[in-house]
Each structure stands twice: as structure tokens, then as C-alpha cells.
């Protein structure tokens, strides 16, 4: 018989040997006896979308930024009528979240405020979005301009001549503070347009569902999406570089390269320097693409296309091979747009006459906000977070030789406030000419945290905790995380009857059978063969090159608006998203059927 509730948040014990894991994280992110009663009344689900893996203490800032940013815009700025923010708890190093509904008695007052506030944004959307890009890129440039290096024995003469009046040590304190604040600020920007954008999209969505009850989510998405947006630009740049290589007659050379480093050196020496320079110009910013599995930007220890050029080079090689075989590699944008217009037009024809004006208005608004919904990922999740993590690594490489800790990677086992403390420690020691306490102080603590972290990594985090709602209808939970009433039900049932199928959300239409290729990280994409069905935690633009050679996609996490769903629709590939357990349940090479119309994945052989 199916269970009716999940274990309590407070029933979850530390994995053996990971006792004391709480010291890795901020106290306000943790369970506490005094908040137990309240927490146990709520439904918590694991945020596999942003944080499928256990977090390093330093990486905790990522979820904290959106805990605050999403909440502030919903709760305090736009007065989103039904919803406050989304609460968080860290359990065994994994993130669990729970939406907080707004008090029903406030609904009317909040609706009035929302109308005025969000109304202003909708009315001025395009100009606000232009301003948004300018301020976001400004913050990006500020962060890029920071340099973290070991402090000098003797300050440069220029510091004297400029009468600056403060030391490089002070500058390090200030830069680190600013870096954290800029990241915190840009994650505020992120939610400035996102929630109300989703509200407009959801309105169109709800209208379609009401008018055509059986219309699929993905059809609604197809009416709205499919524009030429920056989301596709990184992949387009790879294709452009592939074409440029073929035109320059160095296609074979690029394809034969053992590594990006070797290739660039060889080309520089043998008349291919222009192409290498083109690559380098393109890499900033278009290869600032975070390679984290799942939602990009969530962790500090994944590189970018820019820092790991072998990843984009692999894609360029494939595009060159396709070009040499006479194949078309450009995305069928014109076809997608034509199809979008056909679908929209034919549905519009079916409407009652009185409905067409509001349909047109809602569609126009949904399409307008959707550009942001699709593009913001490039600006924030990739450019900002990738730069933040890269600068954090630069800082760790500066601090380790100054004695803050033994190894640069140690820094990520410190919480961000502890990193601040360490900077004060080494800057003080540097100033005084004494010896910092850092490495000696942290050594046993970091060793213990590393041990705990490894234990937590092996823990199998349950998808949900607490008392499930009878119906999941909080719009953002459904849309962003792909968590539906059905998904929760299937989590309750799993463990008893796995069966030979998995249920997710239909992400992109069509039915395909093929061998499964289970891929957890971007680095493993090379193994994917033509015609494979990609089975993955989730995808991001870093995964784009793979879509030209797969037959379908199955993801653990994401809704109909996830990157996986959007790109598969673009490429005309079936996709089932948000299955919850495809990566763990589907075996490498197993034949599976992906039904992107109904959201069912069938395992065809044992």
C-alpha cells in the first residue's frame, strides 16, 4: 500500500561517520528543536534542480542568494498575491525547500499592490530589460576586474605616488566583500524580472488550459518560445567557429587535435593564429558557460567552457565533421518559428470571437517576458556565477601560499564568513609581518569536514520529506521544479513498485526508442553516440552540442520550461523531464522508449 506521507525532516539521521555535518553550514540553514513543530507541518522537497549534489560549505552562498532574492521579490516587492518565498533547510548537506503561501486573508490587498507594481513592470518591460542588461553587465565587469594574488612583500611604488592611503591587504578585504555583495546583488536582479515574468507566462498557460482542457503544456510553451534568443548563442558560436575552421582549411587539423592546448599552440605556429584569436575573442563572454550538472552555477567546483576548452572543442570537432559530410548544422529556427505561428494561428481560430482580443494581448505579454525567462540564465547563472566561482578559485590560490590554509581547495570547505575571517587573519599577519594562525587552525577542521563531505556524497537523499499536499498547485513549484501531484504520488509509491516505466513531464513531443546513455556531467558527453537517448540529471547550455546527435532526452529534474524541454522542442526531439530517478534507474545501454507526448519512459529490456 502506498504511504501517505514522507519521513519527517527531523527523522533524517546523519549517515554513519558524517555526524557533526551541521558545522559545515550556516546555523540559520539548519533544523532546530525550536522550529521543529512548524517544520514538521510542512512539505519539503529536495532541490535537485539547483543542488543535485551535496554542497561545499563555501557554495552555500548560492542557495542563500536565491532564498533571499526570490523571497524578497515575491513577498516584499511585488506582493505576489498567493505566494511568499521558498524556505530552505540543509539536511545532510543537501538542500530541501518548501514554498510559503501568502496568508489567504491578504490575497485581495496583495492583488491590488501587485497590479500596480507588476503592472508598471509589464508596461515598461522592454526598457526595463534593457536597463537590466546594462546594470548586470556592469556588475560582471566589476567582478572580472578584480585580481586576487598573494600580497607583495613590499607594496608597489605606485601606491606611494598615488597617495592611496590604504594597503593591498585592505584591498583584498574590500574586494572579497564586494565580490560577495555583487553576487548577492545580481541574484536580486535575477528575480527582479523572473517571478513576474513567470506570472505572465502562467496566465497565458492557465487561459489555454481553461479554454482547451487537453492542450499539452509543451504546446503552450511552443506558442510562446522559439525566438532567437541569447540562450542559443554559445552553441551558435561553436558552429560559427566550425564553419570558420572549414573555410580556413584547417578543419582536419582541428578534428585531429589531441587537446585544445596543443591545437592552439600548433595553429599559432603554423598559420592558424587568426582562428585561435577568433576563439579567444569568442570565449569572453560566450564560453563563460558553467558546466555544473543540472542547473548551471550551483557549485564552485565545475569549470566553464573557457577554463576547460576541450569541452567546446569536442563540439566544434563534431560540427566540422558534419559540415565535411555536407550536413546542415544550423538550428532550424525559421522552421520552429513558422511552426509556432501555425500552431498559434490554428488554436486562435478555434477560439470564441470574444476571446481573441485578450488571447492576443496575453500571448504578446507572455512572448515579451519569455525572452527574459530564456535569456537570463546566460547573464546570471553562467556569466555571473561562473565568474564568481572563477574569482573564488583565484582567491583560494592567493590565500593558500599566504598560509590561510594548506591547499587552495581547502577554501571551499570554509563557509563564506569563515573565508572572510581567514582573509582578516592573513591580511593582519601580512601587515604585521607575523605569522597567520590560518592553516594551523583550520587543518584539523578541514580534514574532518573533508571526511564528512565524502560520507555525505554517498548519502541517497530522499526526494521529499514531510506531509505532501493533496494537490501541488503552487505555480512556480510546478513550472520550475516540475513537481506535480503525480510526481509526488510516484515518489510515495516508488520503492514498492518500480515497474518497467518512469513517469515525468512531457517536455517535447514525439516517441522514440533507443539505447540509453547515462551522462552525469558535461565531461562525459563525448561518449554519447549518434542515436543515443540522453539520460541526465538536467541540461544547461553547456550541453547544447549533444542535441544534434541524440534521439531523445530524459532528465531527472525540470519542468516544461527547463533548458532540456526548450532545446528539445527547438531540435524536434522527444523529451521527458522531471522523472526524479532516471539517472539512478536506467542502465547504460538499456533500450528505452521515450514518449514525449505523455511523459512516460519505458524500460524495454532488463
Amino acid at each position: 500500500m502506498a504511504e501517505t506521507r514522507f519521513p519527517s525532516l527531523y527523522d533524517i539521521k546523519a549517515p554513519e561517520g558524517a555526524e557533526g555535518w551541521e558545522t559545515l553550514f550556516d546555523w540559520y540553514h539548519l533544523r532546530g528543536e525550536e522550529r521543529r513543530e512548524e517544520d514538521e507541518q510542512r512539505f519539503w522537497f529536495q532541490d535537485r534542480l539547483h543542488h543535485p549534489e551535496v554542497m561545499h560549505p563555501y557554495d552555500e552562498i548560492q542557495c542563500e542568494c536565491w532564498w533571499q532574492g526570490l523571497g524578497a521579490f515575491n513577498t516584499r516587492i511585488f506582493a505576489m498575491p498567493p505566494a511568499y518565498g521558498i524556505d530552505q533547510r540543509v539536511v545532510n548537506g543537501y538542500l530541501y525547500i518548501s514554498p510559503i503561501p501568502a496568508p489567504p486573508e491578504d490575497l485581495e490587498a496583495r492583488a491590488a499592490a501587485f497590479g500596480e507594481r507588476a503592472g508598471h513592470y509589464y508596461e515598461h518591460w522592454d526598457e526595463i530589460y534593457e536597463e537590466w542588461k546594462v546594470k548586470t553587465v556592469d556588475r560582471l565587469d566589476q567582478m572580472k576586474a578584480m585580481r586576487f594574488a598573494p600580497l607583495p612583500d613590499l607594496e608597489d611604488m605606485s601606491l606611494v605616488l598615488s597617495h592611496k592611503g590604504s594597503s593591498s591587504g585592505y584591498q583584498m578585504i574590500e574586494d572579497y566583500s564586494r565580490m560577495v555583495l555583487i553576487m548577492y546583488e545580481t541574484y536580486q536582479f535575477h528575480f527582479e524580472l523572473l517571478n513576474i515574468g513567470y506570472a505572465a507566462y502562467l496566465t497565458f498557460f492557465a487561459y489555454c488550459k481553461q479554454t482547451f482542457p487537453d492542450m499539452s503544456d509543451q504546446t503552450i510553451a511552443r506558442m510562446v518560445g522559439g525566438l532567437h534568443v541569447d540562450l542559443y548563442r554559445p552553441d551558435d558560436e561553436l558552429k560559427r567557429l566550425a564553419k570558420a575552421a572549414v573555410e580556413a582549411g584547417i578543419g582536419d587539423e582541428v578534428r585531429a587535435a589531441a587537446s585544445a592546448e596543443a591545437l592552439f599552440a600548433e595553429l599559432r605556429a603554423n598559420g592558424g593564429a587568426a582562428w585561435v584569436e577568433d576563439w579567444e575573442r569568442t570565449a569572453d563572454p560566450w564560453f563563460l558557460i558553467d558546466t555544473a550538472p543540472g542547473h548551471p552555477g550551483g557549485y564552485g567546483h565545475y569549470g566553464t567552457w573557457a577554463s576547460e576548452p576541450d569541452i567546446p572543442l569536442g563540439a566544434v570537432k563534431e560540427y566540422i565533421a558534419s559540415l565535411q559530410a555536407g550536413e546542415e548544422i544550423d538550428r532550424p529556427t525559421a522552421r520552429v518559428l513558422a511552426e509556432r505561428e501555425r500552431i498559434t494561428g490554428e488554436y486562435r481560430e478555434l477560439l470564441a470571437d470574444d476571446d481573441r482580443p485578450v488571447f492576443d494581448e496575453m500571448l504578446a505579454l507572455a512572448r515579451k517576458v519569455f525572452v527574459y525567462i530564456e535569456e537570463h540564465v546566460i547573464y546570471i547563472e553562467h556569466w555571473m556565477w561562473a565568474t564568481f566561482w572563477a574569482k573564488s578559485h583565484e582567491l583560494s590560490r592567493a590565500l593558500a601560499p599566504m598560509g590561510a590554509f594548506d591547499d587552495p581547495s581547502d577554501m571551499f570547505f570554509l563557509r563564506r564568513t569563515e573565508v572572510m575571517e581567514s582573509i582578516y587573519d592573513v591580511v593582519t599577519a601580512w601587515g604585521s609581518g607575523g605569522r597567520p594562525r590560518g592553516a594551523d587552525y583550520w587543518r584539523p577542521i578541514i580534514a574532518e569536514r573533508r571526511r564528512i563531505y565524502d560520507r555525505l556524497k554517498e548519502w541517497d537523499a530522499p526526494p521529499a520529506l514531510g506531509i505532501p499536499p493533496t494537490e501541488v498547485n503552487e505555480p512556480f513549484t510546478v513550472m520550475l521544479w516540475g513537481i506535480t501531484t503525480e510526481a509526488v504520488q510516484s515518489w510515495l509509491e516508488s520503492g514498492e513498485d518500480g515497474g518497467n516505466s518512469l513517469r515525468g513531464q512531457p517536455g517535447s513531443p514525439g516517441v522514440v526508442e533507443g539505447p540509453a546513455r547515462v551522462v552525469r556531467t558535461v565531461q562525459e558527453l563525448e561518449a554519447v553516440q549518434e542515436g543515443d537517448v540522453l539520460v541526465c540529471p538536467a541540461t544547461s547550455p553547456a550541453w547544447s552540442p549533444v542535441f544534434s546527435r541524440i534521439a531523445a532526452t530524459v532528465s531527472d529534474v525540470g519542468g516544461v520550461m527547463s533548458h532540456t524541454a526548450i532545446v528539445c522542442r527547438e531540435y524536434g526531439l522527444p523529451a521527458v523531464v522531471g522523472t526524479g530517478s532516471a539517472v539512478s534507474r536506467i542502465r547504460e545501454g538499456q533500450r528505452i522508449r521515450v514518449d514525449g507526448d505523455t511523459g512516460v519512459v519505458t524500460l524495454l529490456d532488463d
Partner: protein
């Protein structure tokens, strides 16, 4: 006598002939075929064919006999009168002048089907039926599993005779009286005519029905398809539990799919060739979908076409033959959907601005119904 319209016309010979010539059913099939829908091969014995076969003397005799039925005759008395006129038609057309032409047409049809024996449905195709008034639908006879040219001839004549059922006579009289008393003689006399459709009984591997909307909620962006293995009779009569596919008319997605257990199927009686028997379905096919994806796609294409041609939602029967889609999909018949078509289409949010719509969405109890 020179005829302007041939007595027998194959269904794919163009659409210049209307319901006055081919009858409602015949004209409907001809329009479907001309519109690019595959239907089982068929020919129509036209209204002029009826007139030619009857000849002027018999037609006059029928007319006079009908006129002689007392105005007040009802019930059993009217039945008796009608039966006498039918007998007059049946006897009078024995050895009619179209017999040779009909035999040739039957042979041509058999050749088209590629089968050894001709097995057809012979259906009345009234020139009044399916016109502005639907009330004649079902009044006249249809015969399934008719084997060979000789039997076709007899059934055709029975269709002609079915013009004169008691109910049809009563109906025609009251309709004529209501519109124009002078039309009475015409309606019962010279204008009385009947076309007959002779169509292959499709040897279906699977069969079913579709509606060009979702009958559950009236969603016109969907096609609801139900299908079973074998012939469609058990499904149409409600004896079999069909597979069910709800398909998006515009994108072609199968948004819902319910596959039923189908342990039995109706097949043509192998002994007599007439009628159906219930047979077991091979075990591995019991729980298998009775339609392939490509067949569903072709059915959706057909559904859109017939709905557009008719200008209203349709309710149709189809058969799927051996072989591969789209060539193996046959439309058997179509009629207007009558439940949702009668209701006025309700606007969802008339007169709202986008902002009002956003607020309405966010303040409603369940703002986003996810696909469940």
C-alpha cells in the same frame, strides 16, 4: 433514351454530381474521396439509374398506387399499403435493364479490391437524406456482407423498395403537407428516387470511431479516437472495450493514451463470408495498441479534412487494413457530431486586459492546472 448522368458511377469519378444524383451518402463519399481521404472502393447506382431501371411505366404505377393510399391510413393499414408498393417495385424490377451494367460494375469493383469474391455493403443513399433535414437518416435499408453480383442486384432493389416504408410514406406526406400541398403528388410520384451505394466491406485489421473533438469536455482542439482489433461492429455496438487515443488536432501529439485489454475481435465469418464471428486475439496482441502511431497521424489528418469540408465537428467510422500507414487507413462513414456542436462556444475571459488576466490567475484557487 440518352442519359445525361450515367446510371452507375464509381465514387472517385469526380464531384460534379451532387446529392440529387448520388444521394446524400454517395455524394458524401465522393466528396471525401475527392478531398484526399482514402475510402473503400465503391460505386453508386445513381438516382437516374433508379429511374432508368424502373422505367416510366413502373414509376407511374408506383405513383398511382401511392396516391391511392387513403389519406387517413395509419398503423397496420399503412404498413400493408406500403408493403404492397414495395412488392410492386421488387417484382417490377426483376430483370431490369441495368442488370448487365451492374454486373460489370461489380466485377470492376472486385478487381479493385483484389479479392477473389466480391464482399460489399449495399446502402440506400436517399436523395432527400442528409440534406437540410436529417430525419430520413436510417429510414432506408443498408445491407452488410453482400456477396457476389447477383445478391448485390437483389439488395439494390430492396434498397429501392425501402423508399416506401410506412414511416417514410407518413413522413413524406406530413412534410409535403406542411410545405406545399401541391407538391404531394410530386413527392410521392415522379420525384421519388433512390441512389444506392455499393462499397467493399473493408477487411479491417483494426477499426474504430473518431470524433473531431473531445466528447468529454467539448475541446475542439482534439480528436478522440477509439479502436479495437478486427472489425468495428463490437465497438460501435458497445460490446468491446476499445483503446482510446486523445490527439491534439494541431500538433499531432497523443496527449492521452489508454490501451485496453482486447482478448477478442470480430472477423469476417470464414465459413460463409457473410457477417462476423468473434475470435480470440493472439495473446501478445491483447494488450498491444490497436493503432500504430502513423495510423493515428493519418486519422488526425482525415479528421481535420472531414471537419473542414463539413464545416462542423464530425463523428466518423474507420478501418485500418493490413499494410502500412497512411495507405492502409480507410474512412467508412461520417456524420455530424450533435452534442457539443449545438452549444454556443463560451468565451473564457471576454473583455479582460492582460493585467486583469494575470491577477485573475494569481488570485484563483488553483492558478496552474498542471498536466495530470
Amino acid at each position: 433514351m440518352a442519359r445525361l448522368v450515367p446510371a452507375i458511377r464509381f465514387i472517385d469519378e469526380g464531384t460534379d454530381a451532387d446529392a440529387g444524383v448520388l444521394g446524400g451518402k454517395g455524394a458524401g463519399l465522393a466528396a471525401l474521396a475527392a478531398g484526399g481521404v482514402r475510402i473503400p472502393p465503391a460505386f453508386v447506382v445513381t438516382a437516374d439509374g433508379y429511374r432508368a431501371a424502373m422505367g416510366p411505366d413502373l414509376r407511374r404505377a408506383v405513383s398511382e398506387r401511392l396516391a391511392a393510399i387513403p389519406a387517413g391510413a395509419t398503423g397496420a393499414a399503412l404498413e400493408t399499403h406500403a408493403a404492397e408498393v414495395r412488392a410492386l417495385i421488387l417484382e417490377g424490377t426483376e430483370g431490369h435493364p441495368l442488370a448487365g451494367e451492374l454486373r460489370e460494375a461489380c466485377e470492376a469493383l472486385r478487381a479493385l479490391t483484389g479479392e477473389e469474391t466480391l464482399t460489399v455493403a449495399v446502402r440506400s443513399s436517399s436523395i432527400a437524406e442528409d440534406a437540410a433535414d436529417q430525419s430520413f437518416a436510417g429510414e432506408h435499408d443498408s445491407y452488410l456482407w453482400v456477396v457476389g453480383a447477383e445478391e448485390v442486384d437483389r439488395r439494390m432493389r430492396e434498397c429501392w423498395a425501402s423508399l416506401v416504408t410506412a414511416r417514410a410514406v407518413a413522413y413524406r406526406r406530413s412534410a409535403g403537407a406542411a410545405t406545399d400541398a401541391d407538391a404531394d403528388a410530386d413527392a410521392d410520384g415522379d420525384e421519388l428516387a433512390m441512389a444506392v451505394v455499393v462499397q467493399q466491406m473493408a477487411p479491417a485489421r483494426a477499426a474504430g470511431v473518431f470524433m473531431t473533438l473531445n466528447p468529454v469536455n467539448g475541446d475542439r482542439s482534439k480528436v478522440m479516437i477509439e479502436s479495437v482489433w478486427g472489425l468495428g461492429e463490437p465497438l460501435v455496438s458497445g460490446e468491446a472495450n476499445p483503446d482510446r487515443f486523445l490527439v491534439d488536432k494541431i500538433t499531432g501529439e497523443v496527449v492521452r493514451r489508454e490501451i485496453a485489454d482486447k482478448p477478442t475481435q470480430a472477423i469476417r465469418d470464414p465459413a460463409s463470408g457473410r457477417g462476423v464471428v468473434i475470435a480470440e486475439v493472439d495473446e501478445e496482441r491483447v494488450a498491444t495498441p490497436s493503432l500504430e502511431r502513423e495510423e493515428i497521424a493519418e486519422l488526425v489528418r482525415i479528421a481535420r479534412l472531414v471537419e473542414r469540408q463539413a464545416g462542423a465537428p464530425q463523428d466518423c467510422e474507420f478501418a485500418v487494413l493490413e499494410g502500412a500507414a497512411p495507405d492502409n487507413v480507410r474512412l467508412l462513414q461520417c456524420r455530424p457530431e450533435t452534442v457539443w456542436s449545438q452549444k454556443p462556444r463560451q468565451a473564457t475571459a471576454p473583455g479582460r486586459t492582460a493585467m486583469q488576466a494575470v491577477l485573475a490567475t494569481l488570485t484563483s484557487k488553483s492558478p496552474s492546472p498542471p498536466a495530470t
